[in-house]
Amino acid sequence: MLILEKLVIGHEGFELRADLSIAPGARVAVIGPSGAGKSTLLDAIAGFLPPKSGRVIFQGRDLGPLAPGERPVSMLFQDNNLFPHLSAAQNVALGLRPNLRLSKAEWQAVEACLDHVGLAGFGARKPGALSGGQRSRVALARVLLRDRPLMLLDEPFSALGPALKAEMLALVRELAVETGATLLMVTHDPGDAVMIGDQTVLVAEGQVHAPVETGELFSDPPEALRAYLG
């Protein structure tokens, strides 16, 4: 269970409030107008932005004192998810050991994860020699390898074309189901929300609303969402 307990996040003159809980293993889309604070919410959960007040609790544990790398979180950003000077395999391996000192068995696990996302044999390539979709796959292979119970995705596929994006979302969904991780994904596209899974959280007007079933939400959108959807 992920609990945002009376959370108040302030960032450069604006404030966002959240008081809700998300069931374990839920796949949740975070939707809302641009500038509403969707990314800010993820930053706070990931530990990049200390909250003004309130707590982030995951599996009964207050994440407050933990640095971003110590949290039970895998995060994908909008861009720069790979280090361009490291090979695909090294980029994945960082998810296991930040110092890249892996045992032979661990390197095999890296290979297996690359294989799993359809990139067998691509390990030695650097990101510059990969396509946009392949780069996303490398980042997802790292998420798979890290196997952290909370996956935070901040629109990592927004630069991809529609077909490729759908492919990636399917892969994300598959990985989340497989690992049983709780997934939060920021998107501005209602289609993505439907594709990713069960629930949707609406962020609008300084408020993070409690999650609702995605189908329900879009069949009878509340006022704030209606304004966004137009």
């Binding site: 530990g47 990049f48 640095a67 000077h85 930040p98």
Partner: protein
């Protein structure tokens, strides 16, 4: 960011420790000079003459460099011609050109038996005599006209192209453009360029040593050297060091006040499209300026190369030994610079924007105004009771040179580090890459280009330096610039020319090697 939750990290401690060392070398050595100088006498007439000469030559050099740079920068900004990129690159070259090599080249052109004098004598006039104020200013203009041109060119290119387009559509004549667009830009850029060059010229030693001298053309730096080396009069050296420090402080204060332009060096290959400057007269005027500046910069270098080729074949063993020593000193100096610059840059970036980070950056920039002669005198005094300073001449030279190139290294590294942290810092945080792992796997690989550039700069500056080594060296342990100076003083001009070419090749070669090494296989 989240890092503020962590205790003050080892990165910051390392940076502060290095900054303390730099502070000890720049200000601490001054204190040492004070401590050793038993009585501070008042400034004598000769000292006042040195102060006046230093200020006068710096003012003249800065004014001339900036004034001449304006038409050159204007021509570069609005003309497209083959070799434009090469000329702009050439304008960056004096920075890594050994002073003594340039002096030799200038003598070959403007000296008593140089090209210009030969022509004058042939036409029935007296030959030139550039020793003294003329020569010092000439050499300073040679070094700083390119710098001023680059700074002012940056100003020109910072005027948005749309403004020139708007001006063209309104039918502005060149005079209108000058009044509306160019003069406001120049008013903003020129004071900064002037002050930078003034500061550089106040700490001039090698130029004054070779082209100045005598009671009427001695800079304060040269006076320190003479008081120390010939009279071993420490109280006078201390007094003069204080004077030098005060002058530098005043100049640095000026620099803070007028907002010195940043030397980015990037994007100078852009061209301003100008519809107003298509007239034949303006084109001829621009061509003339460009030709003049290219000749002024290239002829002395060409003379060094031409003259050196003959002497290169039979260089004395002493020159080759000196060259080897110089290469070792310069490599050591580049390495030391790295050990100073990297921790400081890391700490500055880690501290974010604020007083602490500004202070740290300020300590790093101190060496711009610091005098290597003052540092050298202080180190000599400190070392003297415990070891033979002459035996330590080469390591001390490497260390002082490293401190002198520190400001330029920080200028290259800090913005690059900020960019890396901005782009990849959060990814590294989320993967728990900290401390040395972060440096090894993220920062160093992505810093390759600026690191290569900074190392190349430090190596070249150290290779060509004729400062501290002149204070310390014993005759057997000379570096190449010092050996070259000795050959010149002994009028062994053919050998000097060969040594100069060797020094030129080594300086440019070292810079090229490091800079190139940083660019090779740099994944972007």
């Amino acid at each position: 960011m989240a890092r503020r939750a962590q205790p003050v990290s080892s990165v910051i401690w390392a940076g502060v420790a290095v900054a303390a060392l730099v502070l000890a070398l720049t200000l601490g050595t001054l204190a040492a000079v004070f401590w050793r100088a038993e009585t501070l006498s008042a400034l004598g007439p000769a000292d006042w003459a040195a102060v006046r000469f230093t200020a006068m030559q710096a003012l003249l050099s800065a004014a001339l460099s900036v004034a001449l740079a304006v038409p050159v920068a204007r021509a570069l900004a609005r003309r497209r011609f083959p070799g434009r990129g090469l000329l702009i690159t050439l304008l960056g070259a004096p920075f890594i050109l050994p002073v003594i090599v340039a002096v030799l080249g200038l003598l070959a052109v403007f000296g008593r038996s140089g090209l210009v004098s030969d022509a004058l004598v042939w036409a029935g006039f007296d030959p030139l005599n550039i020793y003294g104020l003329t020569g010092v200013v000439l050499a300073h203009v040679f070094f700083n006209l390119p710098l001023a041109t680059r700074l002012i060119l940056q100003g020109w290119l910072s005027i948005p192209a749309e403004r020139f387009r708007l001006a063209a559509s309104l039918g502005f004549a060149p005079g209108d453009i000058a009044r509306v667009l160019e003069r406001p830009m120049l008013r903003a850029v020129l004071p900064g360029a002037f002050v930078v060059i003034f500061v550089i010229c106040t700490t001039s030693f090698a130029v004054a040593l070779t082209l100045g001298g005598g009671p009427r053309a001695t800079t304060v730096e040269l006076a320190i050297y003479q008081a120390f080396r010939f009279e071993f009069d420490l109280s006078r050296a201390a007094l003069l060091s204080t004077v030098q420090f005060a002058m530098s402080a005043v100049a640095a204060g000026l620099a803070l006040w007028v907002a010195v332009p940043a030397m980015t060096g990037a994007g100078l290959d852009r061209l301003v499209e100008r519809w107003d400057a298509r007239g034949a007269a303006l084109r001829a005027q621009d061509a003339l300026w460009l030709l003049a500046v290219a000749l002024f910069l290239l002829t002395p270098l060409g003379m060094v190369v031409l003259g050196g080729l003959r002497g290169l074949a039979d260089l004395p063993v002493s020159v080759l030994q000196a060259a080897l020593r110089s290469v070792l000193v310069s490599l050591g100096s580049a390495l030391l610079m790295l050990c100073l610059a990297l921790p400081m840059a890391l700490a500055v970036v880690r501290l974010g924007h604020g007083l602490a980070s500004n202070l740290l950056e300020g300590v790093g920039a101190l060496a711009i105004a610091a005098s290597s002669l003052v540092i050298g005198t202080g180190l000599f005094i400190l070392i003297f009771p415990i070891a033979d300073p002459q035996a330590l001449a080469l390591p001390v030279t490497a260390l002082v040179n490293a401190v002198m190139s520190l400001p330029f290294a920080l200028r290259a590294l800090i913005p690059a580090l900020r960019d890396i942290e901005g782009a990849y810092g959060r990814l590294a945080d989320s993967l728990d890459m900290r401390g040395w792992v972060r440096v090894r796997l993220l920062l160093l690989p992505r810093l390759r280009r600026p690191l290569g550039f900074a190392l190349g700069l430090a190596a070249a500056l150290s290779m060509g330096d004729l400062g501290v080594i002149a204070l310390f060296a014993d005759p057997q342990e000379a570096t190449l610039p010092l050996q070259l100076y000795r050959l010149m003083s002994a009028y062994r001009m053919e050998q000097a020319a060969g040594a100069a070419l060797l020094l030129l090749g080594l300086s440019l070669g070292l810079f090229w090697l490091f800079d190139r090494g940083g660019r090779l296989r740099a994944d972007t």
